[in-house]
Amino acid sequence: MLTPMGVGKEGLMNLEMAPEGFEGTVAYIDGGDRVAQRMMALGIVPGTRIRVIRNSAFGPLIVDIEGTRIALGRGVSSKVWLKK
């Protein structure tokens, strides 16, 4: 019961690489440290729907989680894995 979905990374999309407009589900967050805790507290939880609002070569990385806009740093976004 306590196994998060999609532990294996095959077929998963890294958030840092996800194109603008990408819609999917959060599959897994790397690491169990404070940063992961913080992301989950803000709603980036495995199983929730996520939409990439902004992610381009220059600007910020912004996602929409259940109607909330969250800006993520470059470093942390690579910890988040998404499923289509």
């Binding site: 306590l2 939880v45 600007g59 910020p60 109607g67 800006a71 942390v76």
Partner: protein, 640 residues
């Protein structure tokens, strides 16, 4: 009317959902309130009456979770676990219900007597979201009241529920997610053996990897299964999504584009976003140093007039100098700074309350990340180019770890007082472009020192790697006049009280150093004695003249004092070039730029950190960095 009943209520919830707004509406705006400065956050208490019930309310800081990862979370958790309260009003944002209720579940596990106040129904409506509050109440097993705090909607109903709580008419039967066997076994065990926290809460948090609770349980010799924070969060989220299924009354399937979305199309755009950012920075700077600078000028004029007037009444030269230069000059330099600081904080508070600061941090993240700096440190660094004191104060907007880094680093940015000294010295040595180039180099060296300093601090463990940026972008709204003025005043007051007294004392000490023993020539003053004593320390930097070294002492109190000291010791700034070579002055400027900004900065550092150790370390740190940079400059310019 006699009050017969007492009720103690706490307001808890996510940041920015309207807890303080509700607090103010309930207690009467800013009445019966007081500030209790906590460690890093403040909680506010107030009271009001409903008929014969005397209600005490505590406004808690906003949090996203009850796992401790920030001081705010710690304050709230400790409060709810230890203090004697009757009921918690959990304020939630209706337009953001899912994320808000993730906290509600945890709150209920810690403290079951929760009233849910679903605020911002107006914002939700604008988004096309409607909520069946009655169904939500039934499903959660707790009372639910909907409302719009800013228009007063729902307040009376909330008061009625509070009244019913006192009359014993309200029942709390919260429903909880089922987390599985491991949590249940631990929970049963804790129920038997006792714990500072309720067994369910402690069991869930232990499996969520909460460091404090794991430590607590380990001390009791309880073995805990491997924490699985993601699995717990996922169970909670899925349980909640299931619960919310028919709570939302969907009106339109197309999510409406809100005003915030429209503004963000430009403000977070990969190109236009930077244009907006530059413009906002420029405006903030411009207004601070024109409007604030203008007021400063008026105050300066007043004090120089006061000095002149007073001096005609004093016959003793010594007393005249003491009263005019030290006392009036000291008070004057504090008050002259104040308008600049006030204006800056005003600009900052407006941007903050509008919702822009979170976007600006998001825009700057990539650049700052490359440099190894926290994104939000950008604002204090910008401010540091005006005055280091508000820059240090500005770090209070950062999280704890980032603040630690910030207070050590912002002083490297050349402030306007340093710019005045550069201009005076450079004009004596260089002409035209060369002079401008020297000044620009100082700014670049200052910024470079910030970047290198951050690396060094992390290397020596004085600052940890900062929390990467993960922030919610709040909806924009027109800044609230009262909120902005209140925030501005609190920040300005800190400067006047804390930094102000220090600048004043420093000015008097400098005066004594330069003028005592009374009646001697400048080269025999205490300042000179001190300067000659520390001069050998600067031989390795190629600075052979004790007088140039001596100027560093008064400028430790206030940077602009360097100009006056050079004037006294050399008989004029222009005379400097007869005694000091060009390479020497360049090395001096590098050192002068980077070593401890001034006494007022140290006061500000104390005011922000409340620790003398940090103040002491920051002096040591900036001195070392200045020395190393100056030494490298010496090697580059003068050769080995």
């Amino acid at each position: 009317m006699k009050t017969l009943h007492r009720l103690r209520v706490a307001l808890a919830g996510n940041p920015n959902v309207g807890k303080s707004a509700l607090f103010n509406v309930l207690t009467g705006i800013y009445q019966h309130t007081a500030n209790w400065p906590g460690k890093t956050v403040e909680r506010k208490e107030g009271f009001f009456d409903i008929d014969d019930i005397h209600v005490e309310v505590v406004d808690l800081p906003g949090i996203y979770s009850l796992t401790v990862t920030s001081p705010e979370e710690e304050v709230t958790r400790e409060f709810l676990a230890n203090e004697d309260i009757d009921v918690v009003i959990n304020v939630v944002d209706a337009s953001n219900l899912f994320r808000n209720l993730m906290l509600t579940i945890q709150l209920l596990e810690l403290f079951p007597r929760v009233i849910l106040f679903v605020n911002m129904l107006d914002v939700a409506e604008a988004k096309g979201v409607k909520i069946d509050l009655e169904k939500l109440s039934k499903k959660l097993g707790i009372p639910v009241v909907g409302g719009v705090v800013v228009t007063g909607q729902g307040i009376d109903e909330l008061k009625k529920v509070l009244k019913d709580v006192v009359r014993g008419k309200v029942h709390f039967h919260p429903v909880y997610p089922v987390y599985g066997q491991e949590v249940e076994i631990l929970e049963e065990y804790l129920a038997k053996y006792g714990c500072k926290y309720p067994p369910k809460f402690a069991a869930v948090k232990a499996l969520e990897g909460d460091e404090e609770i794991i430590k607590l349980l380990k001390e009791k010799g309880i073995t805990i299964p491997e924490p699985q924070p993601q699995a717990i969060s996922q169970i909670r989220a899925e349980w909640l999504k299931n619960l919310l299924k028919d709570v939302f009354i969907v009106e339109s399937y197309e999510p409406k584009q809100t005003i915030t979305d429209k503004i963000d199309m430009i403000v977070t755009h990969p190109i236009w976003g930077y244009v907006v950012f530059m413009f906002a920075m420029f405006l903030m700077f411009y207004i601070t140093f024109t409007f604030g600078g203008y007021l400063s000028g008026l105050i300066e004029m007043f004090f120089s007039w006061l000095g002149d007037t007073v001096s005609t009444f004093i016959s003793s030269e010594l007393w005249k100098s003491f009263i005019v230069d030290a006392v009036i000059g000291g008070v004057g330099s504090v008050l002259t700074f104040t308008p600049i600081i006030f204006t800056f904080f005003l600009m900052y508070s407006i941007l903050e309350d509008s919702g822009y600061i979170a976007r600006a941090a998001a825009m700057m993240d990539r650049l700052m990340h490359l440099l190894g700096l926290p994104a939000k440190l950008f604002f204090p660094l910008i401010l540091g180019m005006g005055c280091t004191v508000p820059a240090v104060m500005g770090t209070t907007a950062l999280e704890e770890e980032e603040r630690k880094l910030g207070v050590y680093l912002v002083g490297f940015m050349p402030c306007s007082a340093r710019l005045a000294v550069y201009s005076a010295i450079v004009s004596a040595f260089f002409t035209g472009y060369t002079g401008a180039l020297v000044i620009v180099s100082m700014y670049l060296i200052g910024f470079f020192a910030v970047v290198v300093g951050a690396k060094v601090l992390k290397m020596f463990g004085l600052a940890r790697d900062t929390m990467p940026l993960v922030i919610e972008l709040p909806s924009y709204h027109i800044p609230h006049v009262k909120t902005v003025l209140y925030a501005t005043w609190i920040r300005t007051k800190e400067f006047i009280y804390k930094a102000g007294t220090l600048i004043f004392v420093a000015t008097i000490i400098i005066w004594m150093l330069v003028n005592m023993p009374f009646g001697v020539k400048p080269e025999n003053s205490y300042l000179a004695i001190l300067g000659k004593a520390i001069a050998p320390l600067f031989y390795p930097l190629g600075l052979a003249d004790w007088r140039i070294v001596s100027t560093l002492i008064p400028s430790f109190a206030a940077k602009e004092a360097a100009i006056a000291t050079i004037g006294v010791l050399y008989g004029g700034v222009q005379m400097l070039k007869n005694a000091v070579t060009v390479p020497q002055i360049l090395v001096f400027l590098v050192f002068f730029t980077l070593y401890t900004p001034c006494m007022a900065t140290l006061g500000a550092i104390y005011s922000v950190t409340k620790r003398w150790k940090v103040v002491f370390l920051s002096v040591l740190f900036s001195f070392s960095v200045a020395y190393v940079f100056a030494f490298i400059a010496r090697l580059v310019i003068m050769g080995v």
